[in-house]
Subunit: 678 residues, 2 copies
């Protein structure tokens, strides 16, 4: 592969800018760590210390000038970074990691003032760890002294693993690393994005999609700046690798100030969440879950099956595990009939409960747990949550290995739960970890980890790039005139019969009709009193027209044939990050009061449009939830999809809203349209 | 106080039935533990071993017969329990703990075959721990051998605390105990209910509400059998003590099979959840949270304020904590202006972020954290989540004590977060625990614990017993005839003008009207085609009447004046546990497809009825969410409340549904009613 970021992760030569004789200097620590990695034979790259002020550092001669290398690591005062970066760029250095902070994150200026060829990670980052070649820019102490003088491990030693971590927070990076390594779980690489002035999460994903040492990616995301690239790159990555993400702070980030109705009910969080789903990434809800799925994936991979067994000797904990599996949509099938023979042979206690959870009860021992486990494995079950509360005498520390032996011959997916924090609890959990079975101390944690990995086993990107160039409209500014909706016919929408009143014979109108006033500033006609609905004959029409004329002397009145059906609101807004976002909801109070809407990143595929209709239950309504079918929801989804491709391509569209879009058995009618162009 | 359960928790004399020379015999272990407690001076009660088969046990002479004591503890084979219980009852023994299992929980018979005077806990329970008098029926090993021969602590020693634990699972009981004691947190008592054949969770709560050693109660609930008593007792308890509960498995328990519309959309879980809320109990969502709130309450009590500060040196972890506080409704106010001076004096790093979370950044040290903490304490903030990630060199193990000193002078409410599992992480967490500050390793856990305790500080019971005896109706069976709704007027509902068509002049009807057919079996008139809406004149009425007559020759047709407004569905069902449950939802698809309903246990107070209207947003609709006020929601709430008091008292009502209840500016119109009586 060739990627601009390859030299960032796999450099053949590295310069470290800012080394000094001081041992607690970050650059010096990084330089020293790199030398150690070289001494261990891990790192093959040449490493050069750079500082014009000093002759040498750690017995190495300091370079006065920045050499041309694959990677330069910069840790100097913020006001000096730019000149070093430019110098490196000029010398042909391909990539840089800027450790230094003090830029926009601290209320200062951006680092990058002009375009350089060099690709830059940061500033304000702790950089990169690549366990496969010894590249490691962490500069944090490995041991720290306690008050009583003991020197305690503060950061565990690195280890290779299958999962790459990407975060937008140094602290979260190190915490994840600590949690993983403390359980003996390695990583392939860690990337801390810092301020992301140049290299974004999307760039990193693009590189990792080709990185042969990375099987899966886990992300901590505070915001995505280049959403269009993200969708493309993430959707490519998840075709071959697994991806998990925790979204943080998105509710406060990037709130768009717009008076548009669509924007006002579109939550950024929902868009981010949809973007993950659309690109095949499994979203978790908190940091603990993110760490748990990484651990579990590393040891178990993804499950082969979508159903799970909870095997326990504690009824209550079993209920909690099963409840939470079910909440996340995992099938927890009844098993009684499969196991009844075990009871007859006396291998499990008479008082055991053989449903699912299988509860061998406090009278159960290692053997009863094992017998159930083996029996269900033979019957094709492969996902197990094993809760072996150790308080009853029958459960010992021989259980983990015995389970593992059975599991190995069936290639099962196991998560153990051992509650409590006594020595024995910790001992049992440790024993499970040591033989490669993740062991948590919460039934809910185990359930969530299993459920997310089952999701990951099925997750596929549904988003794909696809644009529609036609039709080309010459609109500018705000467009609300009734003629403007005509182009929607090309996408399969219908337009209610309409005409200007001043050109029509009132007696010949297709009653019942709605009368509306067109005037450029009447954006919310109903609220502004510019609509008369349910006009059923010429006499009523005449009265209504005269009233509207009096109220809006400078407006132009038109009629629209009344259409009955389900009122839907279909909207699109320009999104700074993702290009365009589509929103579907039921009209009226359902949208406004209950916020039953679905927002997806454009272009929305037909499959995704169907998902939007399902999430809002419009799918059920149209399919006839009480019998009568209204309109094929798939056909509506196709129209929405095609329109979304068109909006996505037309970068001058700021907003497009069809509201109401009334759907009946004859199709979807675009009754009112409002568009805003640049 | 006098409570029947007093001798269960504070016995002066105890007999232990089933002791034997075997050391691993449960009764023997319990007997031995009680003797130890006596030797330590903790237990004052007289203790008698009972077994007719043996002469002595642990050098004590075995009694052949059951003596009359305050408490008997029974651990014998299941088939022998009943005779011992009867004998104890006959001898005047006041209470019993039945450890033995093998009854309904194992598919067997119930233990209690007839009414006895003796009050029984269990069967199938691990019993009771009372840390204040040494009563302890746990029979689990305190140490267990590992494979390598080491003897590991399996159950930590007991300690006194303020919180009483009640559970319906032995395993969960012991796990909670283990988690608490491992962090140095004690309990006042532990009650494991087992099968709850006699003593229920309500009985236990009633006792604990008077127990002076108990300040708060934490419950693990799988089901409530005596809901009427529960509401009364729990609402009394929470007037003076705090209460927390985790609901488990309720979605699968006690599903009522009924064809009633109300019942089919009423989830048991929602009812249980409302019951907790109504009785002032704070519901948590998983076992970890239950344990966390107990720990945090024990050390902090409840917060004095409803707003929180997140103080951190890790931006990402701070965002996660703040996000989750906000999700649970905790105010996280901006602070920038309050702290800007600290930056000027150089006491916090220049690059620190002074919003909320306050992020002193990785360059921050103990002093910067302390300065912010002190400064905000002085400004009146009292709830702090302190995330002191230890990886940066500036954070040391002196921080906890320094924080504690400041905190003590302000009586702050603190939760510390220390991520990771390295030696230093564990050391820091341990240091926090030792000085009385709870320390978790997840920002989300800390946020949830704080949020639940803020809820607890405000929680008050809204439920109160109040019944309405009038009117007394003589109905039996299914009632759907239009006359029957007349009594609703007494509760403030209006009835649309109506009349029998065969007694009316078609020309004189109050058009527009709806025509409906009454026949005993037409329960779902609309679906059965027995309704003609929007009939606007005599001509249309004649045609509709003839059509309806043809279709339902044996039905009787009546008209109803058409009422426009918001369609609401108000229902009540008889509930085996809680007596009666009220349900409110918007009519049509909102109820059926989106399930926007609220279910509360009856009698619903006015305050609760308002809460139901708020949860379903009917309150917003009636208050005029887009300007025009429809009807005073408080008035509707009063009617609902009074009707709920009446339904609660009328135990022969199986179901009562007003659907639709149409509300417009003239009031709430009971358009259709369906009632089912025993």
């Amino acid at each position: 592969m060739s990627s601009e970021l390859y030299p960032l992760y796999y450099p053949d030569s590295i310069s470290v800018i800012g080394v000094s004789p001081r041992e607690d200097n970050f650059a010096t620590i990084i330089f020293k760590n790199l030398l150690n990695a070289k001494a261990e034979g891990l790192l093959k790259a040449d490493v050069y210390p750079v500082n014009p002020l000093y002759e040498e550092c750690l017995d190495y001669k300091c370079l006065k000038e920045v050499p041309g290398t694959d990677l330069m690591i910069i840790s100097v005062p913020s006001n000096l970074v730019w000149q070093y970066l430019k110098e490196g760029d000029r010398k042909g250095t391909k990539t840089a990691i800027v450790i230094s902070g003090g830029f926009t994150e601290a209320g200062g200026e951006k680092l990058l003032r002009e375009n350089l060829k060099i690709r830059v990670l940061g500033p304000n980052t702790i950089g990169i760890v690549n366990t496969f070649n010894g590249l490691n820019t962490l500069f944090l102490p490995e041991k720290k002294p306690a008050k009583d003088g003991r020197l305690l491990a503060s950061l565990p030693g690195l280890k290779r693993g299958k999962v790459a971590i990407i975060t937008q927070s140094g602290g979260v990076s190190v915490s994840i690393l600590d949690e993983l390594l403390s359980n003996g779980i390695g990583i392939s690489s860690l990337t801390c994005l810092g301020n992301s002035e140049d290299i974004t999460i999307s760039d990193t994903l693009e590189f990792l999609s080709y990185d042969e040492n990375t099987e899966a990616v886990a992300m901590y995301i505070e915001g995505i700046r280049d959403g269009r690239k993200f969708m493309r790159v993430a959707s490519e990555l998840t075709k071959k690798k697994k991806a998990f993400a925790l979204l943080a702070g998105v509710t406060q980030v990037g709130k768009r100030a717009t008076m548009s109705h669509t924007a006002s009910i579109m939550s950024d969080y929902q868009t981010y969440s949809s973007a993950l789903k659309q690109s095949g990434i499994v979203q978790v809800q908190n940091l603990r879950e993110l760490i748990d799925v990484i651990k579990t994936y590393e040891l178990n991979g993804t499950p082969r099956s979508e159903r799970a067994v909870v095997l326990t000797n504690s009824g209550g904990a079993g209920v909690l595990a099963a409840d939470n599996l079910a909440k996340l949509g995992v099938e927890v099938p009844p098993l009684t009939d499969l196991l009844i023979k075990l009871k007859e042979t006396g291998k499990v206690p008479k008082i055991a409960s053989l449903a699912n959870p299988v509860d061998v009860s406090a009278s159960g021992n290692d053997e009863s747990m094992l017998e159930v486990y083996r029996s269900l494995s033979e019957k094709g079950f492969s996902n197990f949550i094993v809760i072996s509360t150790h308080y009853p005498p029958g459960i010992t520390d021989k259980l983990p290995e015995a389970l593992k032996r059975v599991s190995d011959s069936f290639r099962n997916f196991n998560i153990a739960v051992e509650l409590g924090n006594t020595e024995y609890s910790e001992h049992l959990r440790k024993t499970f970890w040591e033989i490669g079975i993740p062991a948590f101390n919460s039934p809910e944690e185990a359930s969530f980890a299993m459920a997310y990995l089952i999701r990951a086993s099925k997750a596929q990107p549904t988003w794909h790039y696809s644009v529609r160039k036609e039709p080309v409209l010459g609109f500018k500014g705000l467009i609300i005139n009734p003629e403007s909706s005509d182009f929607l016919k090309e996408f399969g929408f219908r337009i209610p019969t309409w005409g200007w009143i001043d050109q029509s014979d009132l007696k010949a109108l297709p009653y019942p009709v709605v009368l509306k006033v067109y005037r450029e500033d009447l954006i919310h006609k109903t609220e502004q009193g510019a609509v008369r609905a349910g006009v059923s004959n010429a006499q009523e029409a005449l009265a209504a027209v005269e009233e509207l004329k009096r109220k809006f002397p400078d407006g132009r009145i038109y009629y629209q044939q009344m259409v009955k059906g389900y009122e839907i609101r279909l909207g699109f807004v320009r999104d700074d990050s993702f290009g365009a976002v589509a929103s579907i909801g039921l009209g009226g109070i359902l949208t406004e009061l209950y916020r039953i809407t679905s927002n997806y990143v454009c272009p929305v595929s037909v499959e995704e449009a169907i998902a939007m209709l399902r999430e809002t239950k419009i799918y059920d309504l149209l399919s006839g939830y009480r019998g009568k079918k209204v309109f094929n929801p798939e056909n509506l989804a196709e129209s929405v999809s095609e329109l979304s491709e068109w909006v996505y391509d037309k970068q001058n569209i700021k907003e497009l809203e069809v509201n109401p879009l009334i759907v009946n058995e004859n199709g979807p009618y675009a009754v009112d349209i409002r568009m805003s162009f640049e």
